[in-house]
Amino acid sequence: MQALMLDPELQERKDSLERAATNASRELLQIYEQLRTLFQGRKLDLFALLSPSTQRWIGLSYATFGRVAPFLHDIAQSEWRLESNDLLAEFGAAVFTSVNFLSKFRDFARSGVSWERAREALQQAKRQRQEPGAKLPRVAKDRDWAPADVATAMNSINVTQRRPGKRKRVVSDEEDQAEFVPNLPTFEEEDSGVNEEDKEQELEQVGDIEPSVPEIEIGRGIPIYTPPESISSPPALATPYDADDFMSESSVEFIMDETGHSPAPADVDFQGNMLETSNAQANLLDTGQKPRAGTRSLNESIAGDGGSMRRVVHLDSGGEETPERYTSFVTNKPFLTATPENLQTTLEGALKQLEPEGWLGQEAIERVLNMCTIYPFFSVAPLPAEPDRDWHEWSRSHKLRRKTWQRKIFVPILQSAHWVLAYVNMRTYKVTFYDSMASRKSWQSVAQALVAALGEQWDPQVWSQSLASDVQMPQQPNAYDCGMHVLLTSIFLMAELSLPTTYDCRLWRTLFRNLLRKAEISQPEIDTLFGQTLCADPANEHLRTAEGLMRVIEASDKHLDDVHQRRRTIEDASMLVSSLHTRACSATYLLQHERTSLETEVECRQRHLADLQTNGSLRPNDHQTLDATRASLSMSQEQIQANEQRQKDIFTLWQMVQSVRGAVGESDSGEVVMRRNEWLAELDRLRERIADFMEQRRKA
């Protein structure tokens, strides 16, 4: 209520405070995670080294943003009604970094046992573990709380056997525990510096204050498990990996990505997989290990999505950009030619932009992506100048609503004359920015604006944004190819290939130009693409002198290098285009399949209508459903046509790549190698002759 009454300025400052808090927590987690990976494999426990207040902060950040958040939510909802503060008081901050512990604890909380009893059992279990002659020899004794404690406690009150269908394995014997506990990452080897005795006293006290929870008969707790919950928080699997391996991945980057809210077929399938694999593995599949294999994992996560469904939205943010600004820019940057020609919103404009060293505009990017995108969902909409203020209205006035099954959205963004690609994954709730001039710039507000435009609420607990680092994304070596990088990155991502280290922008510019023109690539074009074919003709007079020969040989070496490089890039291109083509074909196939089923549906409905009509019990809304089905049928028809067109375009592209590939064929370099060898031999002969000559002169 009060928030509504604040005046805009205060409101904004309040928001920025909140953003700052969120960012600070995330940064904290990020730093901690990075440090953690450094500590991996050492006996030393990072967490225990931290000061208690830092531990507390990290614990709370995890509880708010980390993977454990869903578990905490469930625990708070369970009969025990334990909020994170209670848990913090009870078990210390370290447990918040342990998914394994909390997931087990969640299960325990749902088992219907009363909190008093459970706590007793837990204490008991911990004491047992820490006893000198404990029966779990491989479990670290000195740590405060271990996931094994929960398991033991659950065992001791016989609550492990519930939910037989969901749990793969049940922690019921010592072997399991002994097996999985040593796999825990190091941080639990030693625990937070809380003194054991103090802790227990504290527990007693807390216990006294604790509101007494009515004893619930065990039977009641059992059937809580419902499908949505199973999605929002995977059941604790007592597999070895499930330990805290979670934490070794960046749990900051992929917050709650198991919360696949929309139970689309793909997700359900995925969840199924996840139940079979261990959690840790499932997470690898899902998110990939962000820190290093970012691009690859991204691709994998695309692959996991059954990727024929996508849509490309195309925004640009430079609403305030005016031609005047460009021209003033032009004077500083001589290569930039913002002319009336390349600012045209026509095919000619696009072609002009695609010329070597030309800056790309919406026109070129839109047209090329339109031809290469497999699924015809592509729209262009500029971001307003000030997303924070205008966004709401903007997203209302534009139909940017994605289809429910569209999970991957590619958004080229133009900001201060620089193109950046935003990739929105609606399944993992992540916005990734691909910047070919990676800077440390914050993309938070743009990400929020994008998500809002897609009709989603930006919730920092669900959504996250990140910037692909310069190792994950090719960087432009010049000041004109960012548009090309955006184009190629989105195409590579659509084709589900990992990004190469560089893009051959000259080659691609030629290809795209010809694609837009619908022209065949010509020999002169190929020649200019790769520079002069050979460095010297045999009759050249340089070949008479040693110096000349050496120069020619050097040149041919360079040429061979070029040929090599060129062959590699063309292979990349070929692979990319064939992958695109395959995808286009399968998308068309899928669409055709869909059309067939729609046709049957229309038929069925028609028959149904006829039946109803004869019965006289026709309702108006029966007609509507038939009409709706018909509409989707015709839409599907359109989609098929569009897709077939794309298929053709991509095939043309493929042909072009093949002809370039042919031109860069073996013969070319073979000839150069041959000549180079001849020249080398010639050089040797020349040297011999010189040596002979010198010898003779000396003798004389």
Partner: protein, 95 residues
């Protein structure tokens, strides 16, 4: 208001009137056009460009986020009275 007074003509209500008002806006200017439902929007676009001193080749018109072709008309785009066309200039970027 007076329900009895209006029924004679009822200019707005009967399905759709022949003309509709369309707002055309770039970030700075707003221009209103009255146009027939079946007239090609090319006419409107040209008029706007002429008024603003821009070349029709240098701008794009968007309706609901999608691009408008010169030979679309309000009917084909399912436009309503008072709808807005946005005008954007081509923007390029490189570094």
């Amino acid at each position: 208001m007076s329900d009895a007074g209006s029924p004679v003509n009822k200019p707005e209500e009967p399905v759709q009137s022949e003309h509709l008002n369309i707002k055309v806006t770039d970030n700075n200017n707003e221009v209103f056009f009255k146009i027939k439902r079946t007239t090609n929007l090319k006419k409107l676009m040209d008029a706007f460009c002429e008024r603003q001193g821009k070349s029709p080749q240098s701008v794009r018109f968007l309706f609901d986020g999608t691009r408008v072709n010169p030979n679309d008309n309000p009917d084909s785009l399912d436009m309503q009275d008072g709808d807005t066309l946005e005008v954007h200039q081509e923007q390029i970027g490189g570094c």
